[in-house]
């Protein structure tokens, strides 16, 4: 039946594309970007907090909001970088034809580059 034929057609096509896909092997880890950006933002905003003027403090209801936000962002950035360090990206090794059980894992691998410009 032609309908049924069509079904398995598109599914094998997607499986083929999944095998050829390069995302898993080549896409950089987003934790690096989040960590990097939040460390940079954290430092900038913390410095703004350390140098806060009277007017800044008064505006934010006597909370040094730059300092607290900056430290919070710094902590989040460090968290992502530490997480990345402790549990690095698992890189799928190219599946061998004789190994249909799928990709193994290589915890030492480190794909991609940082996207920060």
């Amino acid at each position: 039946m032609s309908d049924h034929q069509h079904e398995s057609d598109y599914q094998s096509q997607v499986e083929e594309l999944e095998r050829e896909s390069a995302t898993a092997a080549r896409l950089f880890d987003v934790r690096r970007i989040i960590g990097g950006l939040f460390v940079v933002y954290g430092v900038i905003v913390t410095i703004a907090g350390l140098t806060a003027t009277e007017a800044d403090l008064k505006k934010a209801q006597d909370i040094n909001i730059n300092l607290w936000t900056g430290l919070g962002m710094l902590a989040l950035g460090v968290f992502f970088l530490v997480w990345l360090k402790l549990r690095p990206t698992a890189v799928p090794t190219p599946p061998l034809p004789a190994d249909p059980d799928g990709p193994g894992e290589d915890p030492a691998g480190e794909p991609g580059t940082s996207g920060r410009g």
Partner: protein, 556 residues
């Protein structure tokens, strides 16, 4: 579309602009760095089905956390009070859990690349083409409306001319999606999620201090607005009046069931994030992981709306004065010093761009897979479709920018268009749910259910409600009722048409209908997926219970 009042200009300085500039550089950097991972069309449209659940989950919630949503829900908070939490706890969580636990195995397991493609295999070409075309057109127009909304906000806050905002944001979105495809879009959404929280949390903290803490906030609102304003259910009995213009039945059935299930389970801009997950378990967990932040977001969105109302009691009261939509910008102006202010402006801009990018990245997928490859140019090489995907991304963004300029002169028409398209999701949900659970549902039933349900909702809204035949107190209330009408009419038509037409042979439905699996699709769980915190059932029911618990303080 609301115009922001004069006098909202933020006191930004070089520090704030540096923070904004760094963000733009990172956004482009993500696009360039993601480019080398795009080898096949599957990489471009679905990130090669390879992303981990926490990334797709955060992207899932961020795709919905656009700036129009943030400003709009804060506005609802200031206008309707605590009723606004219904949009989260009853109007989102059950649908997200249902998507993850019940529908995702069919979506992901059948290996479809889009929501319309599921209709193609389950029902056939007529319902497929109808839904693909409507989705593509609405996604581009909504992207344009989003751009326009951003332009008016930036004009008020930063003094940028509208065309500058439209062109700059449009070109950045165009660049990073054309380069890196869905991976770029998803990575930027994850980043945006954290930046917007880094903006909203300090805003809420400082705001609460200003109005005397939570007790100060509730005391002054109870005094000025009455106790019901801070209750989720008071005054929602059938026949009693409340500002929302809806009773508990239309809230639960209209908003909680048909509208939210229609949006969360069939809107491809959302479902696409889950389809890019690396395995079936990660796909199921995507909306479930998203549910937890979604439960807590009212704390930093609705609460600022309430704070703004205390600080500016005239909010929304006067023509030409501050409007409800200005709630969050007012707090930014009055409470945030330079530095955090820059983070807040960046978060708002990032949320606008991510909202637009979600529409663009789902539009290019549906256009290429479901219109171009299915009906216009069949059987070409994968390279060809990847190329088409990139070109149509650019075309989609340019049309969106054009739409934004048109919206500037016809903003009422755009509102109507959005209402029109909102009527499409509900019958789509009816078609999905009946088609997934009733094997006999025929291809003809799918098409006619979709068409009649949509038309019924339009007749109810434009003729019965706008024409004054039915007496519904507000637009919101009318939307809820229209959705219920669309669901019932679509469902009944499907039942009737199924009875008189021929079903698909059972063999053609493997993996598409409840109780079947595609041949060879039984997937072994990946290593580590049996950890207790990764159990979909636990995550899903946990989210439901947490949402129910959140209602308790606002129900008595």
């Amino acid at each position: 579309m609301h115009y922001l009042a004069e006098g909202l200009r933020l006191p930004t300085n070089w520090l704030d602009y540096s923070i904004l500039a760094i963000y733009f550089v990172v956004v482009l950097g993500i696009g360039f760095a993601a480019r080398r991972s795009v080898k096949t069309s599957l990489d471009f449209f679905l990130s090669g089905r390879s992303l981990p659940a926490w990334i797709t989950g955060l992207a899932f919630v961020a795709a919905n956390l656009g700036a129009t949503e943030i400003l709009g829900m804060a506005a609802n908070g200031a206008q309707y009070g605590m009723y606004t939490v219904h949009w989260y706890w009853v109007g989102a969580i059950p649908a997200m859990v249902f998507l993850g636990l019940v529908m995702m195995p069919f979506y992901y397991g059948s290996k479809v690349r889009s929501v319309p493609e599921f209709l193609l295999h389950r029902f056939g070409p007529s319902s497929h083409l109808l839904s693909a075309v409507i989705f593509a057109v609405s996604a581009v127009l909504i992207a344009g409306v989003n751009l326009y909304a951003m332009a008016i906000v930036l004009e008020a806050l930063l003094g940028w001319p509208q065309w500058v905002a439209i062109v700059v944001a449009g070109l950045f979105v165009l660049a990073y999606i054309t380069l890196g495809g869905l991976s770029s879009a998803i990575y930027n959404e994850v980043l945006q999620f954290f930046v917007i929280l880094a903006a909203l949390i300090p805003l809420t903290v400082v705001g609460l201090k200003r109005v005397g803490g939570w007790d100060g906030l509730t005391d002054s609102l109870t005094e000025s607005k009455g106790g019901a304003f801070l209750s989720a259910w008071e005054g929602t009995g059938i026949g009693s009046a409340n500002p929302l213009g809806a009773n508990w039945l239309t809230i639960v059935l209209g908003l909680g069931f048909v509208m939210s299930f229609g949006y969360w389970t069939t809107n491809f801009a959302e479902v696409q994030r889950a389809l890019s997950a690396k395995n079936a378990s990660a796909a199921k967990r995507t909306p479930l992981i998203a549910a937890f932040p979604k439960i807590l977001i009212p704390m930093v969105v609705v609460v600022p709306g309430l704070i703004a109302l205390v600080m500016e009691p005239t909010l929304g009261r006067t023509e030409g004065g501050l409007q409800y939509n200005d709630a969050i910008p007012v707090l930014m102006r009055d409470l945030l010093p330079n530095g955090v202010l820059g983070v807040a402006v960046t978060g708002l801009l990032a949320a606008f761009m991510a909202g637009m990018a979600a529409n663009v990245s789902s539009f290019n997928t549906v256009f290429t897979n479901d219109i171009w490859a299915a009906y216009l140019k069949k059987g070409r090489s994968d390279r060809h479709y990847l190329q088409v995907g990139r070109v149509i991304t650019a075309v989609g963004v340019l049309i969106g920018m054009g739409t934004a300029f048109i919206a500037a002169s016809f903003s009422n028409i755009m509102n109507y268009l959005q209402t029109l398209f909102s009527f499409f999701n509900v019958p789509l949900f009816a078609v999905f749910i009946i088609g997934m659970f009733w094997k006999r549902t025929t291809p003809a039933a799918g098409f006619w259910g979709l068409l009649t349900g949509t038309v019924a909702a339009m007749i109810n809204y434009f003729w019965f409600y706008k024409g004054g035949v039915l007496d519904i107190p507000s637009d919101q209330g009318a939307n809820f009722v229209s959705s219920i009408v669309a669901f019932v009419v679509g469902g009944v038509v499907m039942l009737v048409v199924t009875m008189v037409t021929k079903p698909k042979p059972a063999a053609a439905l493997a993996g598409l209908v409840y109780g079947t699996t595609s041949p060879g699709m039984e997937e072994l769980p990946a290593e580590g997926d049996d950890a207790w915190y990764r159990k979909p059932a636990l995550l899903g029911w946990g989210a439901i219970v947490l949402a129910a618990v959140c209602y308790i303080p606002f129900s008595f």
